[in-house]
């Protein structure tokens, strides 16, 4: 829309992998006449249309809303999760970020907990497992009191919302040298810990979610901060600090599974 950019030609090195058991390799494609106003995924669409026309299988990649909120898209572009622009998902990355003649290396998320399904598509079920372990308030439908019966200080609500903005894309994991999911898990733990609704299960929740995170094969946090830099929603490292404090407190308090009182039931 800026209307100042001319179309460009790019060289793409794209990860192609038939299925989970295939070894996978990079394949080179030329993307021609790319408009700067295209989104990154629209550029891939055009490449895929050409491949299809030629009778070849198009590049499989995950995407859905294409407006940066569903968290489905998951591309590493030139070594950066979601590409070079900060606070931007791959679907919101536009080609005006690149220049004529650029070479782009496009890979899937790389993490032990995210096995590749095909080409650029990975399996992120492990993130759902962390939420299943305790990323909720145990309140069944119908048992709520009046909305305004629970007062939440505005600042707390804002901080909780900052943490709740996580879209569960997994870029934090992909960016971390240890493939740790601490930013993702910390965001949900923090949202609930900051709100009165989250207090009854606060310490049990953090214990359970951290255990699930470890079980799913995510690595440990060694304070690189790459997760924060890659997060398209600007989730801050503070959420990890808050989770660590709560986890420590839960350990000191000796919060046990048995004291949960059927939280998940």
């Amino acid at each position: 829309m800026s209307g100042n950019g001319k179309s460009m030609n790019l060289t793409l090195h794209v990860w192609r992998q038939k299925n989970a058991s295939d070894k996978g390799r990079f394949v080179t494609y030329q993307a021609k006449s790319v408009s700067p106003d295209m989104s990154f995924l629209e550029m891939l669409d055009v490449v895929n249309e050409e491949l299809t026309q030629k009778g070849e299988e198009p590049i499989a990649f995950d995407h859905d809303c294409r407006e940066g909120i569903c968290g489905t898209c998951s591309l590493v572009v030139n070594g950066k999760a979601h590409g070079p622009r900060t606070r931007t998902t791959a679907c919101q990355l536009h080609m005006r970020t690149f220049r004529q003649g650029d070479t782009l290396v496009i890979e899937p998320w790389r993490a032990k907990a995210f096995p590749v399904i095909k080409d650029l598509i990975v399996d992120r079920t492990a993130l759902d497992l962390i939420i299943q372990a305790g990323g909720f308030v145990s309140v069944s439908t119908g048992s709520a009191s009046d909305g305004n019966a629970i007062l939440v200080p505005k600042d707390d609500a804002e901080l909780a919302m900052d943490a709740a903005a996580c879209i569960g894309c997994g870029a934090c994991v992909a960016a971390c040298p240890n493939a740790s999911a601490m930013l993702f898990t910390g965001a949900k733990v923090s949202q609930m810990a900051l709100l009165p609704q989250g207090q009854p299960e606060r310490y049990l929740r953090v214990r359970r979610m951290v255990a699930a995170m470890d079980d799913a094969g995510f690595g440990n946090c060694t304070n690189h901060g790459e997760c924060e830099a890659a997060c398209p929603k600007g989730i801050k490292l503070d959420v990890i600090a808050r989770m660590n404090r709560d986890y420590l407190k839960a350990s000191l308090m000796g919060v046990e599974e048995s004291k949960g009182g059927g939280g998940a039931g």
Binding site: S35, E56, F136, S140
Partner: protein, 637 residues
């Protein structure tokens, strides 16, 4: 086909309470003996699956995405309505009911809308209890803002991400039940056919999208909550994967399809900017709380916006609808935008855009305050357009956003197939011919949390169901039909891609069945679509195989169904010789361009019944009776 709405007797405000008492209950100990399939994991599906699991039913929930948290409810931005009257500004259940019936241009079922307004208050309570971080006032109470078509402030919100936060609330409730073993979640699974046994819905055929395997899933009841079909226009604010296949397959098995021509074209979306474009992005209606919509008074005025003096600007919504101003309802705002662009006063490339200007509000409240309210939306706009809305006005244009039509359901949300219930945008819903802002989230959650858990139970308690298994001939026939369809799609090896067909269909639909419709255009579309479909089934090229992850094959199946569904939309639009809500027939308008309804002939729901391949479907009618909100010409002046 008989359309029995099953609306309970008695005064409107007591119907739902009375019905809740009259409905049969399943003994708590027996609930675990029943199984329910829920297709879709958005607000309606996710909430229904979680709530029914909490009650003790065995639930299987399906979604095509890699996680239920990605359902497109997540993209709803602005807010959710509830008649709490926390603002002390005169709101009530009755007012929300009234606004919604009027907003829908008197084409919805009164009893359903009243129930929706009643339940709106419970929804907010439930979501707050789940930890949804709604916006708050300094005293800690819930904050509100205004939305179109209402003169009270009843919209609850979480910045510009209300849909995301409500969906995550439902998702977390669902995950809790998955963890407890009460819900089996099947992600990356697409429903391709319902299974009917003895005339009742008893299961689905789903494709595992990773392995390509076709699976038979059986249950005692099936709930479809698969969203709307607005991607029939190709360019839309929907997610790329949103599709009409589940409801279309149900239609072909006997579920009536109601009011397919009622589609919502949302007034404030980022304009189209290129041939390669794959989707359109909404800019929330909430922006109209602080943004003013205008175009130059003079046609062809190409000066940049800041060089156009105040007295040469036309704030056309404020001028035409002084009472509601920039918060006029969506159908009216979209039409007004089209009108000024048709007059040659549109702005931006191709003249297909109008300004949404925040300069006054930024001056009044400061950029920081505006950023707090809409920061993420401004950022999204900047990412896409490379323009900073804090400095230059946004350019916006209407786009396909929601479908009010959908599978016909009775008061219990039961389709014309017993045992097949439909929730959320997938049903023909409570919005009549036009949906007001902030009421899709409300309806999805009302259906999911508070209606389906009761009405599914009522069905199970009052129906004797035989045990069935996968070897039943009907189950096998359903699998065979899916296999055959996929074989055909893969075997043509023609010259054109799925996307090229979808794009062409979208253009036909936008031109002839979009914001303005007329007889000649619709008749043309009804020639063009069958011709395109004929080519599709001859000249399509789908690479790859069925026994693998194959995104082209997934899309081909969806586009095949859109080609049929689009035709039904045009047929419905042609038959409805009146203008109402989002359905604007150019032949039926006042001298000022306002819609002219025909209550004598069309105060009814049109529910289409499939009549077989190549046959014209049958148009059945459910008369609409307005006892509590009297029929009148809708005015927002």
């Amino acid at each position: 086909m008989e359309l029995k709405a099953n609306v309970p007797s008695g005064p409107i405000a007591q119907k739902w309470s009375k019905h809740r008492f009259d409905m049969k209950l399943v003994n708590p100990a027996n609930k675990r003996k029943y199984s329910v399939i829920v297709v879709g994991s958005g607000l309606a599906g996710g909430a229904a699956a979680a709530s029914m699991a909490e009650l003790g039913y065995n639930v299987k929930c399906f979604c095509y995405q890699d996680s239920p948290r990605r359902a497109h409810s997540i993209a709803a931005q602005g807010g959710i309505n509830a008649s709490k009257n926390y603002q002390n500004d005169g709101d009530s259940v009755w007012r929300l009911f009234y606004d919604t019936v009027k907003g829908g241009d008197y084409r919805s079922r009164e009893a359903n809308v009243h129930r929706l307004a009643e339940l709106s208050v419970n929804i907010i309570d439930q979501c707050v209890a789940q930890g949804v971080p709604f916006a708050r006032e300094y005293g800690g109470t819930l904050a509100n803002r205004s939305f179109g078509g209402a003169l009270v402030s009843r919209t609850f919100y979480a910045r510009g991400q209300t849909g995301q936060q409500l969906l995550l609330g439902a998702y977390q409730a669902l995950m809790r039940q998955v963890g407890a073993g009460q819900v089996k979640m099947l992600s990356r699974h697409e429903m391709l056919e319902p299974i009917l046994i003895d005339g009742r819905a008893r299961g689905i055929v789903a494709r595992d999208m990773v392995t390509g395997k076709l699976e038979t899933h059986l249950a005692d009841a099936v709930v479809l909550a698969t969203g709307g079909y607005g991607n029939v226009f190709y360019l839309a604010t929907y997610a790329k994967g949103c599709n009409g296949t589940a409801i279309w397959r149900a239609y072909k098995k006997g579920a009536a399809f109601a009011n397919p021509c009622y589609t919502q074209i949302h007034p404030t979306c980022i304009p189209v900017h290129g041939e390669y474009q794959s989707k359109l992005t909404l800019m929330s209606e909430s922006l109209r709380n602080d943004g003013r919509i205008w175009v130059p008074k003079k046609a062809g005025d190409n000066r940049p916006p800041h060089q156009i003096p105040e007295d040469e600007r036309d704030y056309y919504l404020e001028r035409k609808y002084p009472t509601y101003g920039n918060l006029a309802p969506r159908d009216i705002s979209s039409r007004a935008a089209k009108q000024v662009c048709d007059e040659g006063r549109g702005v931006g490339p191709g003249g297909l855009g109008v300004y949404l200007d925040f300069a006054d509000s930024i001056q009044r409240l400061g950029a920081a305050k505006i950023g707090e309210k809409y920061g993420n939306l401004f950022e999204m706009y900047e990412r896409i357009t490379d323009e900073d809305p804090y400095k230059v006005p946004m350019r916006i244009f209407p786009a396909s956003h929601y479908t009010m039509g959908g599978l016909w359901v009775d008061y219990n949300l039961m389709s014309t197939i017993p045992g097949l219930l439909v929730g959320g945008e997938a049903n023909f819903s409570d919005h009549g011919a036009n949906r007001l802002g902030a009421s899709a989230l409300m309806q999805g959650l009302a259906d999911g949390y508070f209606i389906l858990p009761y009405t599914v139970g009522n069905y199970l308690a009052s129906t004797k169901l035989d045990k069935v298994d996968e070897s039943h001939p009907e189950a096998r026939a359903a699998v065979a039909a899916v296999e055959e369809r996929m074989r055909r799609l893969l075997s043509m090896k023609g010259q054109r891609t799925v996307t090229s067909f979808h794009r062409e269909l979208g253009k036909i639909m936008w031109e002839h069945c979009g914001m303005g419709r007329n007889k000649a255009g619709l008749e043309q579309a009804l020639q063009k679509i069958p011709a395109l479909r004929e080519e599709f089934w001859r000249n399509l090229n789908v690479p790859g195989s069925a026994s693998d992850l194959n995104q082209s094959l997934e899309m081909a199946g969806r586009v095949a169904d859109f080609l049929d569904l689009g035709e039904l939309m045009c047929l419905d639009a042609l038959e409805r010789e009146e203008s109402c809500g989002g359905h604007f027939r150019e032949e039926y308008q006042t001298a000022e361009g306002e819609a002219v309804r025909d209550d004598e002939r069309f105060c009814h729901v049109a529910a289409w019944e499939y009549a077989g391949e190549g046959k014209t479907p049958i148009r059945n009618v459910e008369p609409l009776v307005f006892e509590d909100v009297h029929l009148q010409t809708r005015s927002y002046k």
